[in-house]
Subunit: 336 residues, 2 copies
DNA sequence: GCATTTTATGAAACTGCTTACATCGTTATT
DNA sequence: AATAACGATGTAAGCAGTTTCATAAAATGC
């Protein structure tokens, strides 16, 4: 069933059918009804490819993320997909892995598929070296590129970021003020937001003259979810004689590893060991006491990201970078 | 840059360029190289819409799932996306929610987008009443429909299922044999696999003459992730005088709720309370002791699903239904 | 009541690619 | 050497829409 069949059965030209289909004005009520009746009768839907060819868009946004099964990224993808669809767009999902080369090729694939815009989910897409970020600039030459929790100053690239520095700064300060003078900081990524978080911890510790370089520990290179590994790492540290009464982790999974360590070693949480996680994920409810964690308002970020993207696609001038503040959600693993 | 530009610059016809592009034979090495050079020089990529129109496919598979942020579904989506892409297909992701009407419209949307096939992720798409499943049969009239962890006997519908009945049967038996004569069963979904799991528990309990109707409890209608709610629910049961020394849950989240309950009430796990979860997710590592859980070989299921889909798309005869067995992974929450 | 504007409609060009068919030069067959 | 078969290439007809432009019809102005 094509537009020709419909036009024939309705006794009008294909142009008129097209106008009805696209809600164009300049169609009399009478013919409109006539055409609509035929369309409904035959359950006709216009061919998306032909439409795409004519309009040069299929109303599709590419979502690129390193690992869609990651708790936090999955949540982001979920919000993004829902909000895109509410705006009449579909999402094509592409998992790129953490490796630069596969990121590049995934990004190109999305462009080849003629998406209207691309959303890079997570901060792992931005590299230290500017030359490594060229692949994003190249993509932005074709379609607007949105960054979630990362920023890059380049034409046609827009960023929506949570203020990880301040969040971590304040969380660290809170822990210090609650009496913990030696909190360890654990991270596994040195990505855009990873660096900000680390800097926040560092700044807070420095402001209280408590910073020791050995207090900042990278568990993994890249991103991993491994609760037992974190517990084990802490055990080894303790065995080495490192003394600590607090753990601040750059994600909830590692914080849960600290919980496990505390449980295994008979430490009371938070009295003997205070713990703060990051992302305020469902994991915060998975332990006892509940895990205090920093909420970076993911849904708000995503909402804003989509709003911005829609604006850009409409040709509206939009802010190139937006920053939202996070918030420490206190549960049972922190002292007052 | 179009195929016309390339053909002109290479001094050949567009047909020849197209042949080179599609790796068709019957192009002399000389012209092939000539065309390829021009293509590379101008970084030409064929227009995907035009291609789609001509070939009537854009090599895209629709993935429908109720909630892509669900731990288990997110994992499934991840596997599926990766394997699809390894086969040269892209995925358009669509979150439908749990409501039948939105499922219907989401499914139609995918078909409108002219995907080559549709994968329904999770068992919530299959309903008790056959009339409620008609929307799937309708979709299957257009493109092959693959069901993950659900089955429907209909033309052009293929199912890949884990043997939840047996898994749950054996897990329940294991718990009984370990000495727990009164395990409670918790579920929140009466979907396809939800029913199988429940039946497995029921069969095992009946075989030992231990079944009591009050032992099977539905925490929520539909699917939810709520650890504290589960803990609270158990507290209330205990307060009412219900006696139980084991909990079998139809997902890990609820099992974790049982862990929380045990911890809050000073119960030893597994001595006072044995616990078995389902899905063998990362949550099993998030508590101490580690949660015993049923692994239903999700990656294997996904692999098989994609293999089947690819076969179907190639016109090969493929099995309409495949069943894989699961396995209880024993960690610390079960007795021997 | 005639000129002018507005509204409704259709014809045809256009989007960029695939492919069936035609053509032509070149080997292989007898 | 004539003919058949084949390989390489081009021509042109799809694919199924959108949209510009022309035109006819209706509504408005004076």
């Amino acid at each position: 069933m094509t537009i020709y069949d419909i036009s024939e059965k309705a006794g009008v030209s294909i142009a008129t059918v097209s106008r009805v289909l696209n809600g164009s004005s300049n169609v009399s009520e009478k013919t409109k009804k006539k055409v609509l009746d035929v369309i409904n009768q035959y359950e006709y839907t216009p061919n998306a490819f032909a439409r795409g060819l004519g309009l040069n868009t299929m109303k599709t946004i590419g979502i690129l993320c390193p690992d869609s099964s990651d708790l936090y990224l999955a949540k982001a993808i979920y919000y993004i997909e829902r909000k895109l669809r509410a705006n009449g767009y579909d999402s094509i999902l592409c998992c790129s892995g953490y490796d630069l080369e596969t990121k590049k090729s995934s990004l190109n694939l999305l462009i080849t598929k003629k998406v209207d815009g691309i959303i890079l989910v997570g901060s792992s897409y931005i590299y230290e070296k500017d030359t490594d970020n060229k692949y994003i600039c190249d993509a932005a030459l074709q379609v607007p590129v949105m960054l979630l929790n990362a920023a890059l100053d380049a034409p046609n690239v827009y960023s929506v970021v949570s203020d990880d520095f301040t969040s971590m700064y304040e969380a660290t300060l809170q822990m210090i003020n609650s009496g913990v003078k030696d909190p360890l900081y654990f991270y596994n990524s040195t990505s855009y937001s990873g660096k900000k978080k680390l800097a926040g911890y560092r700044a807070a510790m420095e402001s209280k003259k408590l910073l020791k370089s050995g207090n900042m520990l990278q568990l993994y290179q890249g991103s991993h979810e491994d609760v037992p590994a974190m517990a084990e790492h802490l055990s080894k540290l303790a065995a080495k004689g490192v003394i600590f009464h607090g753990v601040i982790a750059s994600d909830d999974t590692m914080a849960l590893g600290a919980m496990k360590y505390a449980k295994e070693n008979g430490l009371r949480v938070p009295e003997d060991l205070a713990i703060i996680g990051y992302n305020n994920s469902m994991l915060t409810d998975c332990c006892d006491p509940g895990l205090s964690s920093i909420d970076n308002k993911l849904e708000t970020l995503c909402q804003h990201l989509i709003t911005t993207l829609m604006g850009v696609l409409n040709g509206t001038e939009m802010p190139k970078q937006t920053l939202f503040s996070g918030e420490l959600i206190k549960r049972g693993t922190t002292l007052d």
